[in-house]
């Protein structure tokens, strides 16, 4: 097996050469490197998947506010609305958006979540993966396969770009989470390897330049609402890719652009709360109130 896969092109070539799915290639390599069996590796992935489902469940039943008091009851509001009027795009849309809010709100009230890839972007992969799986009764093994593929996408990106807002802005946190979700969803829907990689590239491409400018330096504003937005963003990318629409810029070059954009982004917009939303008039007032 070609053990080192550092780019999406290498991944594609490897999948084609051995006629295997992304998750198959990935789990064989991961098990080999960690000196564990494939089943042991899948058990670790299942543990993360189970923790994601637990976070969704816990968040759906809470409206406890964060320590700052700024966020925590949006999932409740959204569920109340869906009780009265269904979402325009149907029940899958309802599940994905409510699961995203429930997870990210669990995070801000110090509940247990899975950093995937980070805590501030922890709701995107679970909401897409579990939301879709609940909607269509997808079996657990397929969900694990999809989470492995999401992880493989994140891993390849992380070889070039540190997945941290302080290094490359939110494009490297929520942006990457959305790209991971697009790949996972496309696989769950039976997409071919190139469609999975195109979905990843399409999602990522449309989030380049996304800054990290949290109000009061907390993982709350705009992080909470960004999670459901970028979950749906992943669905859009998947729909396009499954239609055979490709990213004219190949996946690896999109990641090159992500890296370059991260480097060029002003440090004031990289988790330092010195510009953008964090320095708006209202944000400054919120900060004053919080420091009291």
């Amino acid at each position: 097996m070609d053990r080192i896969i550092s780019t999406f092109e290498e991944l594609y070539i490897c999948c084609t050469k051995y006629n295997k799915q992304i998750w198959e290639i990935a789990q064989e390599r991961e098990a080999e490197q960690a000196e564990i069996s494939i089943n042991e590796f899948r058990a670790i992935v299942k543990k993360s998947l189970d923790a994601m489902k637990e976070a969704i469940k816990n968040g759906l039943h809470s409206k406890e506010m964060s320590m700052s008091g700024m966020c925590g009851d949006d999932c409740y509001r959204l569920q109340e609305r869906y009780k009265k009027q269904h979402a325009l795009f149907g029940s899958a849309f309802e599940k994905i958006t409510t699961y995203a809010l429930s997870t990210i709100e669990e995070n801000l009230r110090m509940g247990k979540i899975v950093a995937c890839p980070t805590a501030g972007s922890c709701a995107i992969v679970p909401s897409v993966l579990v939301g879709f799986s609940d909607e269509l009764n997808i079996d657990e093994e397929s969900q694990i396969n999809a989470l492995i593929t999401a992880g493989e996408v994140g891993r390849i990106i992380s070889n070039k770009v540190a997945l941290a807002g302080a290094v490359a802005g939110c494009q490297a946190e929520c942006g990457v989470a959305s790209a991971m979700s697009a790949a996972a969803l496309t696989q769950l829907r039976g997409g071919k390897i190139e469609e999975i990689l195109n979905a990843m590239a399409l999602a990522m491409k449309n989030l380049l330049g996304l800054t990290c400018d949290p109000v009061c330096g907390l993982v709350e504003i705009p992080c909470v609402k960004r999670n459901p937005f970028l979950a749906i963003h992943a669905v859009t990318a998947s729909e396009l890719a499954l239609a055979g629409i490709s990213s004219k810029i190949p996946p690896d070059e999109v990641i090159d652009a992500l890296e370059q954009t991260g480097k060029l982004m002003s440090p004031t917009l990289k988790e330092s709360s010195q510009a953008g939303l964090a320095k708006t008039k209202t944000a400054i007032e919120l900060e004053k109130r919080l420091l009291k």
């Binding site: 991961e30 490197q33 992935v45 700052s68 899975v114 805590a119 999401a150 994140g154 070889n159 709350e220």
Partner: protein, 219 residues
């Protein structure tokens, strides 16, 4: 290029809200606990820069204390740690400071007890942490590897004597000293595990003042 693993991307399972400010804080506390290796009587947590400014909203203070008490990053008791009985084990207080020579997310654990020790570390992003200093010695370990830590008299052959006794691969080695012939420190990160016999043997070497074996963090 150093390769990461899929598990790094889809974990840790942790209590929120921030990998650097919450999970990282717990991990720093866990490492400090293993370095100190005794029951403290009094602890002062000095939080710097971003840790000081946004620490409260992120539960950084709770995370540092919870880690020092041995709670893992996914323990839901972290949220209420200040009210728990286990938090009455020792006296503690928090200080919030600014020092731009320090990392944005830096902390000092000033521990008083059977011995007084100051342990300093940084949370460097995505939940990864580094212990940088113990008292006046610079050290470097992350909790990703089993780590052997020694403080000894700066004499010839000490590094050889230590490494010759360890029969596992060394991932990194970091040494420092106060002055020639004075106190020195050695930080050996290992790919594998060593048993207590080896540690006891190393502890018996003349001129070794302190030895700690810090197991890698689980999560």
């Amino acid at each position: 290029m150093k390769q990461s693993s899929i598990i790094d991307i889809i974990s840790p399972i942790m209590v929120g809200p921030s990998s650097s400010h919450t999970a990282g804080a717990v991990r720093l506390g866990l490492l400090a606990r293993n370095v100190y290796n005794a029951k403290p009587q009094k602890v002062t947590f000095k939080l710097y820069n971003s840790y000081a400014l946004t620490g409260k909203g992120h539960g950084t203070d709770k995370g540092l204390l919870a880690g020092l008490l041995g709670l893992p990053v996914d323990d839901t008791r972290i949220k209420d740690i200040f009210n728990l009985d286990i938090a009455k084990e020792f006296e503690y207080k928090f200080e919030y400071l600014e020092d731009f020579n320090r990392h944005p997310n830096a902390v000092d654990f000033v521990i008083e007890g059977v011995q007084n020790m100051t342990i300093s570390g940084d949370s460097i992003g995505a939940g990864e942490v580094v212990i940088r200093k113990i008292n006046d010695f610079s050290v470097k370990f992350t909790g990703k590897y089993n780590t052997l830590l020694l403080v000894y008299k700066d004499v010839p052959n000490m590094i050889a004597r230590v490494t010759n006794s360890i029969h596992v691969n060394i991932a990194s080695l970091h040494c420092d000293r106060f002055a020639k012939g004075e106190e020195a420190s050695m930080c050996v990160c290992l790919d594998g595990d060593i048993n207590q016999k080896v540690i006891d043997f190393l502890g018996l070497i003349e001129d070794v003042y302190m030895i700690r074996y810090i197991k890698k963090l689980d999560n």
